[in-house]
């Protein structure tokens, strides 16, 4: 239905996650009608971001600088390393204000179905970092999905021989949650990992 430059634009927009045919057409029409400067500004921001953002060569996070702000920050606890799946997850952990160590971004979780093995989760880079910097505690802040679980098992088994303490996120009741509305699996986990009141 759309051809030429407009058709090309629609095709490119459709490749974005969550964008179907209809949305792509609406976005394309929006971009080319009205204030054309807005669209050019958008194009410029995309270009700038793509050209200037790379993976940090130490922790693999998407960053404008290499090393990234976290790796360059000497005030951070050097011996704590928090492993996350994506760069976005770093900001989720940062927002807790509970953690002041460094990060490592895997980029993926192990998933043979999608052809993702140890090399695709950047394990060699992680291993390098642990060996060089003498990490005391490695916190695996990964989803408790089958893929996350397998990734946790894999990393833990690879580091068996080292003195690094490996921990993972707890699963259980949400803060301010009501046990009446908690599903039985979550409640079961919370019960299994109960902790002493005196701590």
């Amino acid at each position: 239905m759309f051809s030429g430059y407009l058709g090309e634009l629609v095709q490119q927009l459709k490749k974005l996650p969550g964008i179907g045919n209809k949305s792509a057409q609406r976005l394309a029409m929006h971009l080319i009608s009205g204030d054309k400067n807005k669209a050019l500004l958008l194009a410029e921001s995309i270009q700038n971001a793509v050209e200037n953002i790379t993976n940090c060569s130490i922790c693999n996070m998407l960053s404008e600088s290499d090393p990234c702000e976290f790796c360059a920050d000497t005030a951070r606890h050097k011996n704590f390393l928090c492993v996350v799946e994506n760069t976005q997850d770093i900001y989720l952990v940062e927002n807790t204000h509970e953690y002041h160590g460094r990060y490592f971004v895997l980029g993926n979780l192990l998933s043979p179905l999608d052809g993702i093995g140890p090399d695709e989760i950047n394990f060699p880079l992680l291993l390098d970092l642990i060996r060089k910097d003498g990490i005391e505690e490695l916190i695996l802040a990964l989803n408790p999905s089958a893929e996350g679980e397998s990734t946790i098992n894999y990393i833990a088994s690879q580091l068996e021989e080292t003195s690094t303490n490996i921990t993972r996120l707890s699963t259980g009741l949400p803060f301010g949650g009501d046990i009446e509305y908690t599903n039985s699996i979550t409640l079961g986990n919370a019960l299994k990992r109960r902790y002493s009141v005196n701590n």
Binding site: P112, L113, G115, S150, S157, Q158, I185
Partner: protein, 353 residues
């Protein structure tokens, strides 16, 4: 638990029809092809959130229409509840008391139906997968945890099978094996727990149905060597030992997805040696025990549906089955011959009228 009212719209061969049911149940009559099974299926849809014949939602819509809709009123622990289900080719909506549910398994915990299908004979005579689905479905009807464990196990199984098709690092395989063994053992343990309650009742029912002439024996048949008490370790060790074969066949060769349940009648394997009538009565007995365990778990007798399954049994056997059932559940029976079921004394609905 009982259904008192059902409205069917554009479902299979029904255009629009309303039914009222008695607490004791109903005998559904009519010639072949008039829609007796479809009526049972419509009621059961409100309990399972899908067709018990595993048809896709799109196939349930009347040929000339774009959607179907079902409404049912149920009594559960003395309270009335209203369930609606509707689907078009892309989407389905299920509501309990006017509130949308997000997962179909919420229905399982709510409304319970045990359907005695003509195909149930496969539980005894068919491939192991029929026995596995029987026990999986039976446990799922009252355990959320089991449903979640199964879903997760199947995901890991898929991932593990994909891994076995590729070159892999042994530690990567172990990262899946650990979860696989852990969940596999949890599933098997839940099956064994269920069977511990299931077996004595089944042995008793079957003895009665067979006029105390036949001796039934049942055991869980592991797909890997298992002697001690530690299922997880046995499963894990067997996976380690059979890595060569697994790589050769490119799939997981042990675990609950390959286990079986072995039934023997007078020391002969029922799957191979039982007669049609024995298989039929044993499969009916198994469904009755399933219903019985639901009743004792939830204090709420499930609705029973018989899709003309008694017609190939001898008089004594069907009489015993009727005796076992009388007065305990709401019962729906679909049949073209009301004669077989005259002892039930149920109100009749003739679909010809």
């Amino acid at each position: 638990m009982e259904i008192s009212y059902l409205k069917i719209q554009n479902y299979r061969n029904f255009r629009e029809r309303k039914f009222e049911f008695e607490p004791e149940g109903t005998l559904i009559l009519g010639r072949n092809g008039i829609g007796k099974t479809n009526l049972l299926e419509a009621i059961a849809y409100l309990a399972f959130g899908k067709s018990f014949q595993n048809s896709k939602d799109a196939e349930l819509i009347n040929f000339s229409k774009a959607f179907f809709r079902l409404e049912g009123r149920f009594k559960l622990s003395e309270k009335d509840h209203f369930i609606e289900a509707a689907a078009d080719k892309n989407k389905k909506i299920i509501k309990i008391d006017e509130i949308n549910i997000s997962r179909i398994s919420e229905l399982y915990q709510f409304l319970k139906v045990v359907y005695f299908s003509p195909a149930d004979i496969n539980i005894i005579g068919g491939a192991p997968s029929f026995r596995r689905s029987f026990i999986d479905q039976a446990i799922s009807q009252y355990s959320f945890k089991y449903i979640a464990d199964l879903r997760r196990y199947n995901r890991i199984l898929k991932q593990r099978n994909a891994l076995l098709k590729e070159k892999f690092d042994p530690k990567e395989k172990r990262s899946w094996d650990e979860q696989f063994a852990h969940l596999g053992a949890a599933i098997i343990q839940q099956r064994l727990d269920y069977m511990q309650e299931f077996i004595p009742v089944l042995v008793d029912y079957y003895a009665r149905i067979s006029g105390f002439r036949e001796n039934l024996d049942i055991k869980y048949d592991f797909s890997f060597p298992h002697q001690g008490d530690d299922i997880r370790d046995d499963l894990f060790n067997h996976m380690e030992e059979s890595v060569e074969q697994e790589i050769h066949y490119e799939r997981s060769l042990c675990g609950p997805h390959l286990d079986d349940i072995e039934l023997t009648i007078n020391d002969h394997l029922a799957r191979n040696f039982a007669s049609q009538g024995q298989k039929r009565s044993l499969s009916i007995a198994a469904r009755l025990v399933q219903a019985n365990l639901i009743s004792s778990q939830s204090n709420e007798p499930p609705i029973l549906m018989f899709d003309d399954v008694l017609s190939d049994l001898d008089k004594e056997r069907s009489k015993e089955i009727i005796n076992l059932l009388q007065g305990t559940h709401q019962i729906f029976i679909a049949t073209p011959n009301s004669e077989t079921y005259k002892d039930f004394n149920l109100k009749k609905i003739d679909l010809e009228n």
